[in-house]
Amino acid sequence: MLFNSVDFALFFPVVFVLYWLTASNKNIRNGFLLVSSYFFYGFWDWRFLFLIFISSSVDFVVGLLIHGTDNKQRRRLYLYLSLLVNLGFLVYFKYTNFFIQSFVDAFRLFGNPIELSTLKIILPVGISFYTFQTLSYTIDIYRRKIEPTRDILAFFTFVAFFPQLVAGPIERASHLLPQFFRTYKFNYDMVKNGLMLMAFGLFKKMVIADRLAILVNQVYNNPSEHFGLELVVATIFFAFQIYCDFSGYSDIAIGIARTMGFDLMKNFDSPYFSKSITEFWRRWHISLSTWFRDYVYIPLGGSRRGYYRTYFNLFLVFVVSGVWHGAAWTFVIWGVIHGVIIVLEKALKKPRNKVFDFIGVNRGTFSESFFFILITFSIVCFAWIFFRANTLTDALVIVDNLWRFGDGSSVYELGLAPIEFHLSLIVIFLLVLFDWFHNTQSAYIWLKKQNFVFRWASYVIIVFSIIIFGVYGDLVPKEFIYFQF
């Protein structure tokens, strides 16, 4: 079920009302949330509910088993069982065909073509997200950071919690699971805050992301026909499309959870105001980057084993992150670009500071910040080419054509009518302005301080902007990009 669908518009109010009717009893409430979450997921394809059920069951039992023994080998064995089941599902459903195809391509490259057909495997929605979430539970128990729960209902609900089930934020058990042990009382401010976040998320998705997608799809689906400015515009549009698409989803997810009293972790923090790629990853998909930090980077030794090992660890994390995003070489290259830049930033930090001091660059000034924001954004956009391109060949064509200015057609001929194109620029500008403003103070608190008329006008305007300027209709709501991961 998509958040921007009629199905969800009917589902959510019913769940919201029934939730608050059952909220005073923890078990009934959790039971209701579990049924609702399974319904939410099963609405897409009920057959894959068994994957969530098996993951939940295995990790619930494994958690108790790990905690119940002090035998290191047994503990490790149980952890491997959890990793095997969860990563087994993930690898099978997500990467089998990628491996087969890569194997075939490798043989062809070396002049020995072989016949091997790929399998007909449907990628279960959200498998990358809930697998990582439930893995964090067993790993944290193994590390003795948390204790397992004996409340099977709370645990199953934690794994399947519908607001963040299919595209995150990827929660840690230490943060989200205890919230299922509490009972909540209706808090007007929380609910209002949640609803506003949902509206803001829908605005980002339906008004900005889906509008920009029209132009982006037109260009990226026919890369050889576009050059210079068209590719620059399409790539910048994609940067904002994916930001609005994914952060919009996260806003809605956090908003929904908040209307029910739950607190989900922040997933985006104005990432395009980052002054380095390192900072970008502290602001972009925070729940994933911290997951990789906690469960991949640190176990690899983090920064404790010398410069070169640190660089290797960082690089590896970003390659893995690329692979996590999708079973294609384009995502691997995307991860490699980020990995390389982050390693360079780390390695060149001291020399760079020395150079800046030597030539007398004033640190922290607007011009310095602006310059680095621009550089970072350009690098991020360049990497997005590989992320968005349909194939590696397409990505290379785009990179090649990117520099050929003067060969292309008008940006007004890329699927968006001039008025729609101008509206796109306006909403991007408003988004940047909002992010800048939001960097300095909470928009919610600011709005709360305004007078009644202004506040209500704002609510009506945001709802109306979605209704009038949103890209929807044609019977099918537009899917969120991160669903495919």
Binding site: V6, N187, H438, I468, L475
Partner: protein, 484 residues
């Protein structure tokens, strides 16, 4: 800092829930209000919406309401009903309207008007299950002009599915038309070749182009609209009839079913089979169906009475309307309404029959006069609706058929911005000149009348002049006051 602040989770009270509920209701009401407020912008403007808005704005009382499809609004002319029965009548038919869309619309209009009789005109498509997107698309015309109600939402969902339930609001369905806000949206006016009167909106004449186009567009399927082999409507079809009947019966409104005629050669067996099934079903319920396809020969309908194979023109509509009006007068009781319940000075047939004095301008020409010898016996000018005027010329069709006429007038210079018929405007002058053929003939009570309409949103017309043939002046009036 961020939007992501979290307050204590323990604050709560019944008051909090009440406050939330109240504010949610207020916000939703505000949003719904604005959706409704903007609706006019997002509804497709055409003759259907024009007709409904006309009834809302201008018509106070209706005793007979006619419902149906384009067959209905081209066949039943309220002028004839008002003249022959003496009660205000309105034709609420919509293009390709099915019973499923008609039902909530009937709810809507019967809430406003106290009908005595509803004439439901059906065709072979009336109760079908809307198999294709085009047929579904046509139902928006009716739904969009029906006020929001549970019945409307229910039937809308039956047609379009609950996935599209929010599309019941034109503002939501047509939201991409926001761009049109930036341009000035022209107001729809009924074209000059269309004969509008209280929802009736046929074309004046037979048209070869329209005929050929229609034949090309609607290739009659051999057996598209099935009834079962026993000649019975299926349960779903019956239900649609029953829904409409029950709504009207609840309000004590008499019901009469009709089926407007289509050109005889276009009437295929499946059409007959459908009408036969409907007749059988309605008979079993005790309702009358007047099938004008069966009366085709009796009414002496011919190709010239049709605009295209499916639709009568104004000339054909008079014949069918006269017949139906007579039937209603003989079979239903109507108390005489107050004299001012409808305007006789806007009704063509009132005026040409015996009330010429109610016209804005009228003149008779003796047979032996110069004008009479040209084939013209008289002329009447009257206001049809809004700024639409009609010049009716009584004359000899055979003589005038080959001639042209030229109607021209000056309008006050200060009112130049009001001109609607721009293509007839003389360059750099405040004069409109209509140079036309005699092709809109209506046969009424054994006489022939040629009708011609024009838009005159002015306070007066100066040098109002009609010439026929090679400059023969029929009349000239220095000044005609149009608005008080």
């Amino acid at each position: 800092m961020g939007i992501w602040f979290q307050k204590s989770l323990s604050i709560s009270s019944f008051r909090e829930k009440g406050k939330f509920l109240l504010k949610t209701v207020i916000l939703l009401s505000l949003v719904l209000f604005f959706i409704g407020f903007l609706e006019a912008w997002f509804i497709k403007e055409d003759h259907n919406s024009f007709s409904v808005n006309y009834s809302k704005d201008k018509v106070e009382r209706i005793d007979i309401g006619i419902f149906g499809t384009s067959h209905g609004y081209t066949a039943f002319d309220p002028r004839v009903f008002e003249k022959n029965i003496g009660v205000p009548t309105y034709n609420f038919s919509f293009t390709a309207q099915r019973l499923i869309a008609m039902s909530p619309f009937i709810d809507d209009v019967t809430t406003k008007y106290d009908f005595k009789l509803a004439v439901i005109d059906v065709c072979n498509l009336s109760s079908d299950s809307l198999p294709n997107p085009k047929a579904k698309g046509f139902q928006y015309l009716t739904f969009d002009n029906t006020r929001l109600s549970l019945s409307k939402v229910g039937n809308f969902n039956k047609v379009y599915g609950y996935d599209n339930m929010f599309e019941v609001f034109p503002t939501i369905r047509n939201h991409t038309k926001w761009k049109e806000f930036l341009d000035s949206k022209p107001t729809y006016t009924i074209p000059l070749d269309r004969d509008f009167y209280k929802g009736f909106r046929s074309y004046f004449s037979h048209s070869k182009e329209a005929w050929d186009e229609h034949v090309k567009k609607f290739k009659w399927p051999k057996k598209k609209y099935k009834v079962n082999k026993d000649g019975e409507l299926d349960a779903d079809q019956k239900q649609k009839y029953l829904e409409v009947i029950s709504k009207l019966e609840k309000k004590n409104i008499d019901i009469l079913f009709t089926s407007a005629p289509v050109y005889q050669k276009a009437l295929k067996p499946h059409y007959w089979a459908y009408l036969f099934s409907v007749q059988k079903f309605l008979d079993s319920l005790g309702f009358e169906l007047i099938d004008y396809n069966s009366l085709y020969d009796e009414l002496e309908l011919k190709k010239k009475h049709f605009r295209d194979p499916s639709h009568l023109n104004s000339n054909g509509a008079v014949i069918v309307s006269e017949h139906l009006a007579k039937y209603i007068r003989n079979n239903f009781d109507f108390k005489k309404p107050p004299k001012d319940s409808f305007d006789k000075e806007n009704n063509r047939y009132f005026l040409i029959d015996k009330n010429k004095k109610n016209a804005l301008y009228h003149k008779r020409f003796g047979k032996n006069s110069k004008i009479g010898s040209l084939g013209i016996n008289g002329a009447i000018l009257y206001k049809v609706f809004d700024d639409r005027y009609e010049l009716v010329i009584q004359g000899r069709k055979r003589v005038l058929d080959k001639s042209r006429f030229k109607l021209s007038f000056d309008f006050p210079k200060t009112e130049a911005r009001k001109v609607v018929d721009e293509k007839y405007l003389l360059e750099d002058q405040n004069r409109l000149v209509y140079n036309e053929k005699f092709e809109n003939w209506i046969d009424y009570k054994g006489k022939s009348f040629h009708v011609f309409q024009f838009n005159a949103p002015f306070s007066e017309l100066n040098n109002f002049e009609l010439k026929v043939g090679s400059g023969n002046k029929v009349f000239k009036e220095d000044t005609l006051k149009l608005k008080p």
